[in-house]
């Protein structure tokens, strides 16, 4: 099925979104953040915690920041210490953690030798990441990419070992993607917890060790069921780029990653989020990690029909930010959701129009479709019916990444049978309606065509407005999700700084160079 969209209007929408993000990118390019610097530290292989349990990447960055050295970028300080002390980055970090020395107080070594050290460290880190990416790509090719829509389920027990049991069960039933939802307060932590964890609320902490445990379990299952199984986590909140780094190191396939979600829904500082998302996406682009954008959230707080164009607008903005990070469209899981009030007459037609618009506007992308949550009640039987319609819209409009709705949504984290019932439902609908989308055309000037056209037109008007006042002012106006955030407010603002003249971030530069040159 396809939409008769005015292609000139589509082009115009993209141009506007590009101009809007160009303006923001100027701010981004001048700045770095604590989290971006910790990302460099992690890519250099530094991991672990000090005696007080503080992650070493935090100790190292704090050491330099508190002595006013961070404007130069963390890489120089690590390399200088490695040369001066004849240590590896990890040994340097451990010494800093033990307060044996401060990186800023080490005598500057000969510049050319430090530069050589930076190159050496950077090259070996990048090589390692490339190796991991290659292995994932090869495994995907070997085992075969499952049919779309991919069946995506969440595990969220709080205990990574319990998560493994549930994830394996879900894979054996047909899940293609497992997302380990995070402990709900994690997005506001300005560090990544360390080690395997068995306690969490509403989810399981994202830690490098937990990533590794789940990756191994899913790879074992993939070999057993003979199809590739993707692993997802969340690169949002105060540690966006750092999470991307550990995801790249541990071979994750997907990350929830939105250019504005943290600002709107977690009250994280605007500049912090914009700067962090750029580095975060660069790593994803480099490591072939698919991002999932968060437009579904807008229509949880604002009306899904009246404000449908805000979803489209944000999708176009997210796409442009991803392109700026050198991301190929096939790694863009453009987000949207099935959230219309079930009491609305012709609600299904609206849902089809909106879903089809997303699919049509981003033909090369892998749209991420989200299930009903807002109007899920304690009536689990009705909820199951709502999810059936959601599954139908997804398969007929050709969505790519399909997060399954749970009949117990908004009651508790999914029970093992909830996930099973959801997978059965999706498999049933996907099989029964497989070719429906190819066989059906919507009437010219009919409900669906008209609604999609209207949403696109409204999106273009909104983009014009955003272009005229700027994205940051638009967010202050509360355009997205009916939530207003001020430019200079929000969490993590003190972690943003303007780069010094001698700032150097070799990891980012190298990744950019490789991504842009298409060497990958």
């Amino acid at each position: 099925m396809h939409l008769d969209l005015d292609q000139n209007l589509v082009r115009k929408a993209r141009e506007l979104a590009k101009e809007i993000t160009d303006d923001v990118q100027k701010f981004i390019d001048l700045r770095s953040t604590d989290s971006v610097e910790r990302t460099v530290v992690r890519v250099y292989g530094i991991d672990g915690v000090d005696a007080d349990g503080i992650p070493l990447p935090n100790s190292v960055v704090y050491d330099v920041k508190s002595r006013d050295g961070l404007k130069r970028g963390i890489a120089y300080w690590i390399a200088n210490a490695c040369v001066a002390k004849s240590m590896s980055p990890q040994e340097v970090a451990e010494s800093v953690g033990k307060k044996e020395f401060s990186l800023v107080e080490i005598r500057p070594q000969k510049e050319s030798i430090v530069a050589e050290k930076i190159d050496e460290l950077t090259e070996s880190s990048i090589k390692q990441l490339e190796k991991i990416k290659r292995e994932r790509d090869e495994m995907l090719k070997e085992l075969g990419d499952p049919n779309q829509p991919y069946i995506y389920v969440i595990v969220a027990t709080g205990n990574i070992y319990e998560d493994v049991i549930q994830a394996k069960t879900a894979v054996s039933e047909g899940a293609d993607i497992i997302a380990v939802i995070r402990s709900t307060a994690q997005s506001l932590l300005d560090f990544i917890p360390f080690g395997p964890t068995t306690e969490g609320y509403g989810g399981t902490y994202a830690t490098q060790a937990n990533f590794r445990i789940m990756r191994k379990a899913l790879d074992e299952m993939a070999a057993k069921v003979g199809r590739y199984v993707r692993l997802t986590n969340y690169a949002s909140g105060l540690c966006m780029p750092e999470i991307s780094a550990i995801a790249a190191i541990e071979g994750l396939d997907m990350l929830l990653n939105d250019s504005m979600y943290g600002i709107l829904f977690r009250n994280i500082n605007m500049m912090r989020t914009f700067v962090d998302q750029h580095t975060s996406r660069l790593i994803c682009a480099f490591s072939h990690i698919t991002i999932n954008t968060g437009e579904d959230n807008y229509i949880k707080t604002s009306d899904p029909i009246d404000r449908a164009h805000t979803v489209t607008t944000s999708q176009l903005i997210n796409e442009q930010f991803a392109l700026k990070a050198g991301m190929e469209p096939k790694y863009m899981g453009i987000g949207h959701a099935f959230e219309i009030d079930p009491d609305v007459e012709n609600g299904l037609l609206y849902e089809i129009a909106h879903a089809l618009l997303t699919r049509s506007l981003f033909p090369q992308a892998t749209p991420k479709y989200m299930p009903p949550t807002r109007y899920m009640t304690g009536n689990i039987f009705k909820g199951y019916a709502q999810n059936t319609l959601y599954n139908l819209v997804s398969v007929m409009t050709g969505q790519s990444i399909h997060l399954l709705g749970m009949l117990t949504e908004a009651i508790h984290t999914p029970l093992v049978q909830d996930r099973y019932l959801a997978i059965s439902n999706a498999k049933y609908v996907f099989r029964n309606a497989k070719a429906l989308g190819e066989d059906v055309e919507f009437k010219k000037d009919g409900f669906v065509q008209e609604e999609a056209r209207k949403v696109l037109e409204n999106a273009v008007s909104l983009l014009e407005h955003i272009k005229s006042v700027g994205l940051m002012v638009s967010i202050e106006e509360g355009i997205f999700g009916d939530i207003s955030r001020k430019i200079d407010e929000g969490k993590g603002a003190d972690g943003v700084f303007v780069k010094g003249e001698d700032y150097y971030n070799p990891i980012i530069e190298k990744m950019e160079e490789i991504v842009r040159s298409g060497e990958l």
Binding site: K168, G202, G378, Y420
Partner: protein
Amino acid sequence: MIPNLDLRSIKPYGDQANDGMIQLSFTLPVPAGAKAREAAKTLIALMGFSDIQMVLSEDIGGDFTFFVVYAKTNKYVDYTSIKTLEVEIPKIVIEEINDKISKYLKRQVVIIGATIGSDAHTIGLDSILNMKGYHGDSGLERYKAFKVYNLGSQIPPLELVKKSREYKADVILVSQIVTQREIHIKQLTELVDILDAEKIRDKILLIVGGPRITHELAVELGYDAGFGAGTMPSDVAAYIADRILKKSS
């Protein structure tokens, strides 16, 4: 009420009066098969059910078996002896609330709302507070009588109390949606403890809402009222207005 019922011995009604029919679904962590089915039946019998019809026992992967069962209970309750605590909601509507508050209180009622602790879900809170409300029933922001501060999600109880001082709140509205291992109880209790410790509990009308909240539970935890599933913004508005007016007079 259905005629000819003995209210002193009420049983579930499936197909006919007093048949005691209940539907159950659950999972056992054992592989599907005759042994799993027998284990499930035994378990249900131990719960006091009879006439057990196992309509589904299915392998759901990973050595788990899912069951759907119909069974009859021989237990009954004396409906006439049941006592519940329900929030008394007076029948006053938006215009009346606005009028009375401005006339008797002569200022706006300050309400702050949040989800506390680890709960990131603001759907319930927003439905009650946001202008738009829920299903055509306006949210508290729409009431001229109320000044609403929606703090959003994941607010630590201590922070919430700090804000309530800052805004001179009359009412604190807490929403708890998703919970695991009864964490919501811990967080709700913590809030009461802080208010008690700061000696401001009596000055605040403390309300909690959420799908798993009952008025009884709320009162037990030290709240003034608890609103469960199906609550409309106008219910909460009427309750608040009524209580504040009574308090001020």
